[in-house]
């Protein structure tokens, strides 16, 4: 399994990158690398925010399979 993307961690890393970049003390190469990484993180967060498909399922306790959960109207 690929390393799990954790939203809060990505946001925290993004904040660190902004801080580092803001000091202006990094080399040009490092700065470009930081920026690229920052953009990548932001895009991943974006994706994560919008890509989770709404899905409601229920475990069938006999088969332990997932089945769609019917939301009956009240």
């Amino acid at each position: 399994m690929a390393e799990k993307f954790v939203y809060e961690e990505a946001i925290a890393e993004l904040e660190k990158i902004v801080d580092k970049l803001s000091t202006g003390k990094c080399s040009l190469d490092d700065s470009l690398e930081l920026y690229t990484r920052g953009v990548k993180l932001a895009n991943e967060c974006d994706k994560k925010l919008s890509e989770v498909e709404k899905k409601i399922a229920v475990i069938n306790k006999d088969s332990l399979e997932e089945e769609p959960f019917e939301e009956d109207e009240e």
């Binding site: 809060e8 803001s22 925010l49």
Partner: protein, 402 residues
């Protein structure tokens, strides 16, 4: 024999007798509730209180009912306090209940207290052990009853806050004997998967008996050991169970649990947009800082022509060389001067200098003679001058004279 003029009179009399008797006018009695009906229109509760062999009709009016901390249910064993009366209209002997207390409730509270103390001393409720709740879980595992309002409250709240989420329900009975075991199976099931980021254990409000399954020691330990963060949303705000204490987060209601588990979509979006613009701004700032540094360097004289720089270096080298030569010369003359004064000092103190001033000394066999004692007439002595010595013979000795 007494003759009543009417049924009303009889019923009224009987009622008066009951009211006059201190035992029936203010009583407490234990029994089990059955045939409970709470009328929608009036809000009064009508039920039968029974034991193995007898039963009595009871009524509890709306305002007394509202003051109870639990909802009475059929089968519940209670102690009623109230007064006995006969309802004149149908001659029914009944209890008007003012208060109701669940039998055994004290025992449950005591048991919970003891379990709380035990687990607390083992550190099961320690704040340091609690896991953080993810802001945007990829999948939420819910352990709850598939029927009933609770799961719908959760789904409705999630729908309102975030259109994109994934929820997996593990159906479990959240009441009765099997409650704890089923919730434990649910936790085991979720921990065996790799897609669940947070678990919500949810149940609506209920009597302490209803919630008793959540005061289970094994369930508490299972939650403590669970690698996935657990939110306990059992009962209403005022209901606390062991499950609430040991969970990583306690939500006052299932709805609140749903709010805690998923960040507001709008807030997350605007926060991310903010971070993005900060990133761009930081890069622009960086470029600006570097440009200013470059401009400053370009302005410096050194960059006009390399010969300027070479000339500067040459002239400063020349002046350094001159300084060096000067200081070398100065150093040598100083040294020489110092040496001479040392030599002079030594000469001033030396014996040769004394001899030069007209003094001489006598010596015998290479040793200076400093006293007349020990000398005899005819002894040979050497007398040393600054420029040589002579040999002499002692002719006379005068002690004590110079």
């Amino acid at each position: 024999m007494f003759t009543f003029n009417s049924v009303t009179e009889l019923n009224t009399y009987a009622n008066d007798v009951l009211s006059a008797d201190p035992r029936t006018s203010s009583l407490a009695v234990t029994g089990e509730i059955s045939n409970l009906t709470i009328y929608r229109s009036s809000g009064h509760a009508y039920f039968t209180l029974k034991d193995e062999s007898s039963q009595i009709s009871c009524v509890m009016f709306k305002n007394y009912l509202a003051s109870l901390s639990f909802v009475p249910k059929d089968g519940m064993k209670v102690i009623l306090t109230g007064t006995c009366s006969i309802y004149s209209a149908n001659g029914k002997f009944q209890i008007k209940a003012f208060a109701m207390r669940q039998v055994g409730k004290g025992d449950l509270a005591q048991q919970m207290k003891e379990l709380h103390r035990k687990l607390s001393s083992e550190g099961l409720f320690a704040q340091e052990h609690k896991l953080p709740i993810p802001v945007l879980p990829s999948r939420i595992g819910v352990i709850s009853s598939p029927a009933g309002a609770v799961i719908h409250d959760i789904i409705n709240t999630l729908n309102r806050r975030n259109p994109n989420y994934s929820l997996l329900l593990y159906p479990a009975s959240v009441q009765g004997e099997t409650c704890a075991a089923e919730v434990i199976s649910g936790i085991d099931h979720f921990c065996g998967r790799d897609d669940i980021d947070v678990i919500i254990i949810a149940r609506g409000g209920g009597s302490p008996e209803d919630l008793w399954g959540f005061n289970d020691e094994n369930l508490a330990r299972k939650i403590y050991d669970c690698r996935i963060p657990v939110i306990s949303a059992v009962g209403h705000e005022t209901d606390y169970t062991i499950c609430d204490y040991v969970a990583d987060l306690r939500a006052p209601t299932p709805t609140a649990a749903a709010e805690l588990v998923i960040g507001k979509y709008d807030e997350l979006l605007s926060n991310l947009a903010n971070k993005k613009s900060m990133l761009n701004l930081a890069l622009m700032n960086y470029a600006e800082i570097q440009r200013r540094r470059l401009d400053a360097l370009k302005d410096s004289k050194a960059l006009y022509s390399p010969m300027v720089y070479v000339e500067q270096m040459r002239s400063s080298l020349d002046s350094v060389r001159k300084d060096l030569a000067n200081s070398g010369r100065l150093l040598i003359s100083e040294q020489r001067h110092q040496l001479k004064s040392i030599i002079d000092g030594i000469e001033m103190l030396g014996p040769m200098n004394v001899l030069k001033r007209g003094y001489s000394y006598a010596s015998a066999e290479g040793k200076a003679v400093t006293s007349v004692k020990g000398l005899k007439v005819g002894d040979g002595l050497d007398v040393v001058f600054s420029d040589g010595s002579i040999s002499v013979e002692v002719k006379d000795i005068y002690e004590g004279e110079s």
